[in-house]
Amino acid sequence: MQDILYFSQQLINGLTIGSTYALIAIGYTMVYGIIGMINFAHGEIYMIGAYTALIAITGLATLGIAWLPLVLLVALLCAVIVSSSMGWAVERVAYRPVRGRHRLIPLISAIGMSIFLQNYVHLAQGSRNIGFPALIEGSFRFGPPESFQLSLSYIQITIFITTLICMTILSLFIARSRIGRACRAVSQDLGMASLLGIDTNRIISATFVIGAALAAVAGLLLGMYYGSVDPLFGFIAGLKAFTAAVLGGIGSIPGAMLGGLILGVAESMTSGYLSGEYKDVVSFGLLILILLFKPTGLLGKPEVEKI
């Protein structure tokens, strides 16, 4: 009984983290699917989302507004607006001018952007990690009171529900809306789509904005879950999310969701049964193994190399 409870606890923790990884991973996978580049600065966009949410929450607290749904809504809106603008601006400044050049050039530009944004926040807000107020406290507990108890906290439930809502909206948006259809067309064949009258530049911008908005949601959720933010907080999360995107098959949106969940569970199982220090080793090791043995990921399509 104890073992099952412990196992389910790790599973719940893993799914919580995994669903936020999935939210961030969608940004990587959509951008890769359309223009075939790794948006290295995506982790920083997510970090900026978390910072903006924290600034909004603190600002509201200073004003004396404490009604929880309003606070969450305002924080979410601010984070999404600032991160999306950032995503748009980054694409405009650093990626559009180098699009279509040798593969390494956009990647180096993206790494430069990532370093720039990290230090931008570092200089503006200091390098210390800042405590994120726990807005949603409390948890359901299961199991005998005196031994190990399974706890399912309200914030974990919030994370599940929010992720589920975001994923549903995104899937509907991609499947039904005009822009979503255009996105799919552009990712299949950029040249052909532009011949058929789709404004590809606008669609690429839209992809960055959507990815950044989802990353901002993840920033708010993970900020509340971990309880602190610092300027380096996006880097590792970004790498993990990228791993998730590759695991699920880069370019595929359901793949990113699946990959995020698998990666989250693998990580929390490692910290639950081995040691917390090695969880990063496990996820990077997983990344290396996937790229070696199944570079297309779980749900990805094989890429045909054209001559």
Binding site: I38, L54, A94, L104, G112, F235, F242, T243, L287, L292
Partner: protein
Amino acid sequence: MATPQFKHALFCAVITLVIAYPILGLDLTINAATIDLQGADTSTVVAIVAAAFVVFFFQLYRDTVMASLRKAPKLNPLSGREPLPQAKRVKLESWVLTGIVVLALFWPFFVSRGSIDLATLVLIYVMLALGLNVVVGLAGLLDLGYVAFYAVGAYTFALLSQYTGISFWMSLPIGALLAALFGLVLGFPVLRLRGDYLAIVTLGFGEIIRILLNNWTNLTGGPNGIGGIPDPTLFGMEFGRRVKEEGNTSFHETLGIAYSSEHKVIFLYLIALVLTVITALIIRRFMRMPVGRAWEALREDEIAARSLGLSRTAVKLSAFTIGAFFAGFAGTVFASKQGFISPESFVFLESAIILAIVVLGGMGSQIGVILAAIAVTILPELAREFADYRMLVFGAAMVLMMVWRPQGLMPMRRIHIELEKPE
């Protein structure tokens, strides 16, 4: 007058405000238990608004501004000049380089200890950048975990000296070879991957090495690192005040001069200088050998190179291994210079700095990379008050270089045969 251009300019200005104001204009300050939000000082807010206006007007008159920029006279007076004939250029280059090396040999005897220390650090970065230049610049493989090989070199020396008492000179080839072995073992499976996947895998590898160093406390001392790494000796002469190891003599007693702590610093500098020159010469040789040509061929067009019979794995692996070898070299020198190493010296940022050096200098160009290494290491020391902005500037510089001048400040010039002009 809501022309599309005006709308676009307005939109850009609003976006500038949105991305700059919350992060720059509002400060989170920690007060004991609570966090406060304060508006930044007026000058910051004015700067943000001014930036928005600049963006607005630039976007509004973008076409005119760009057109007039194109018409403006070229700032570089040399740009219109005929390039020197190759034979002359090569000769001039080798004279200049020899002159610089001779100058560098005598220079430490006239300057302060601090500047020699800094110069040693610069030389270590030059070595690292030359090594990474082989991988990124010549072979076109983006390696984001280069610092891992540097760590292997440094830790090899530290651990060997701690457990077996092996000296610097014995450890130098061992560290470099071990780093090369790591490069070989890692490279073998991953070099099949496409460029950007390779970048991420090497990044993951670098992180794994760092986490292992951090957590394998029994062997590496974990975050506390390893101290007491011995200094190099000169033919059994030690540079300390007293001789530590039996059988050795001390430098100042043998030569009959007064003890000075500067001897050791100068000696380390000279070792680094000699090793850097050796590195540069070896890599220069490689560049002209068939294997060097093969690196570039594979970088330019993989399919064409393979159809001409080049083995993709062998060529890429050789570049990766040679790059790792020189990182191991640099790591050993670094360990003995610092006398203490910890995983903190081998973070991703370090890889990014070395990459920035290679990119700024011009991928593949040796002189460019050497100059960039000097500039990138010395400039933050000269302008201490701007040291905080160092990484910000690096990041921005990497983006701007990719947008405007992806070939770097001093692009590589290939050795080629020139046809004689018909009279």
